[in-house]
Symmetry: C2
Subunit: 342 residues, 2 copies
């Protein structure tokens, strides 16, 4: 029996911000390895805003998606993607010392099915597998694909300075699209245009839906063809008001709404606009979009190695720093992908 240190869900935010008290450090017992399994010592852990959504007790059938998208129970290890070194193996294809990436959770060591792990490329920094090559990169890549982007179209990206948003804009530019970013603060906007290839950026802070929609209309009078939304709330409403005919909206995140449990939250009705403009809206779940992972890895790796796409990795040290870093990430205080080095 192997014991390991883990961080588990100790309480639920239920309509408020995440607090350190919602996390607890705990020793857990790992199961014995079965055939086809390995034990991994985690070296790097990715922090993801989507974990926030799994911390609430769901009142709907949302858990129907299952797997990594299901709500966590109290006492569950906090979910997350990580990189680790194999320390014991009963899988023929993997040996002690091999570096792998997988969904290990916030834990020093984990037992995993070899079939669900991916090899770390020997020639790149392991943390790339948690940024451009990890969930964030896959979400940006497959999420934009889901909108069937065409060269010359305009894509609007919210939370554009975030780990996913910045990659969406860069991939869109490489595919010949015009990328417009929404980010909190003018400094982030300047950085997106100067350093990350966005054609334009707007600061959404302190603006209501109408004001933001008016700025978007002035910036792109012909409207937006693709809206990749990570934010929800008034940002989504302003983007919806800016769509061109036959536009596609990818719902990828709802970070502005995470701390609301209010099922009765109201917003402008959207269905007339969807009908009259022939819009489509998709809820994008990266765990449902893994069928072309090899294409993704080949293309994205090349972009990263060539410097065509730049990833932003904010590294923090040590397991104990993870809860505070997640809280800062959710508050919009950090830029790029937050990775904990163990």
């Amino acid at each position: 029996m192997t014991r390991t240190q883990a961080i588990v869900l100790a309480g639920r935010p239920q309509g408020g911000p995440v607090q350190p008290s919602h996390f607890a450090s705990r020793e857990i017992d790992l199961p014995e390895l079965a055939d086809g399994q390995v034990r991994v010592a985690v070296t790097h852990l990715a922090l993801d805003p989507f974990v926030r959504g799994l911390m609430d007790e769901r009142r709907t059938s949302a858990d129907a998606m299952g797997g990594f998208s299901a709500a966590m129970a109290i006492g569950d290890v906090i979910r997350g993607e990580g990189v680790g070194r194999i320390v014991a193996s009963r899988a023929p294809a993997l040996r002690e010392g091999d570096m792998v990436v997988g969904h290990f959770g916030w834990t020093d060591q984990a037992v995993a099915d070899a079939a669900r792990l991916h090899a770390v490329c020997a020639d790149v920094d392991p943390s790339w597998h948690l940024a451009g090559l990890g969930i964030s990169g896959q979400t940006a890549y497959f999420g934009l694909d889901a909108a069937t982007p065409q060269a010359g179209e305009t894509v609007l990206v919210s939370s554009a300075a975030g780990a996913i948003g910045s990659l969406v804009g860069q991939i869109a530019r490489l595919r010949g699209l015009d990328a417009v970013g929404l980010a909190g603060g003018t400094e982030k906007g300047r950085w997106l245009v100067a350093e990350r290839g966005f054609a334009a950026a707007l600061d959404y802070r302190g603006k209501d839906r109408q004001a933001l929609a008016a700025e978007l209309a002035a910036l792109r009078p012909n409207g937006v063809n693709i809206f990749f939304d990570n934010v929800g709330g008034t940002v989504l409403d302003a983007g919806m008001a800016s769509m061109a005919a036959r536009g596609r909206i990818i719902i990828c995140g709802t970070i502005s709404q995470y701390d609301r449990m209010d099922a009765e939250e109201l917003a402008p009705r959207w269905n007339r606009r969807v009908l009259s403009l022939g819009l489509s809206i998709k809820g994008f779940n990266v765990f449902d979009a893994q069928s072309e992972r090899e294409r993704f890895e080949a293309e994205m790796r090349q972009w990263l190695v060539n410097g065509d796409i730049r990833q932003d990795i904010h590294q923090v040290k040590g397991f104990a720093a993870a809860p505070a870093a997640l809280i800062a990430l959710l508050a919009g205080e950090l830029r790029g992908k937050v990775v904990v080095a163990l």
Copy 2:
């Protein structure tokens, strides 16, 4: 120069119900035929609820879809699909006396491009081309296709006793789906189940969103895979609350909202549900979905001839009856497709 009698838009409802005063009868001059054009004497005219949406002055970019979906100007002939007999032709493939179907509008005679007309089948009642084989049939057929229906799935249809809804349910049944109808009144529901192959039906009248959602949850505890919505408003909200994971929502009509100009109308936020359940939503425009018209005509015609699908045609006599019939249709007082015989 040929003069003809037509009904034109004389006023806009702008936030209220359609009134007879919004229509005017007028003599209009038809242009001389150009090469490739024909003149048609209209024999049957279809009334469509979607015309209601074109009667308002749009305050958005909704006209971007263009063509038959664009708002009408004051003085425009009211738009509509019709069947007619060719009375003059400068198109090689069409001769005087041929029966054709096209978008002639509310007019005794019309000039049309031959390339935009379709031949009437000699062996079916011409009014079929305005019902099961017309826009209503195409909308039901291609709209359901757009939701990628799978045998065994449940499809929820609103305005299920309407010209489109009743066809959606019947096509769904033929494709092996479980069709649940929402209709106003228990009598329509009984008819849908007894006569039109729906597995179940609910009366939505007098129920708020929560009450209707609770009834749907009791009726189909595993949720709805496809929601084909013709209604909007609280019916849409209740359907959204009833979706199963990876469900598809087709926005086909907004009849409950037609008389509202209020851009600020509020509704429950939908994006968290779309994301957590991996839903997709499409605004369906039949004029954008004509690429497989031959497949549609072959399959639907066979279904109609075999009696596998039954169409409901409510015929009214004479041009002058059209405005009152449209008003009754919009008020939910008529069942099935309303066709004016000239």
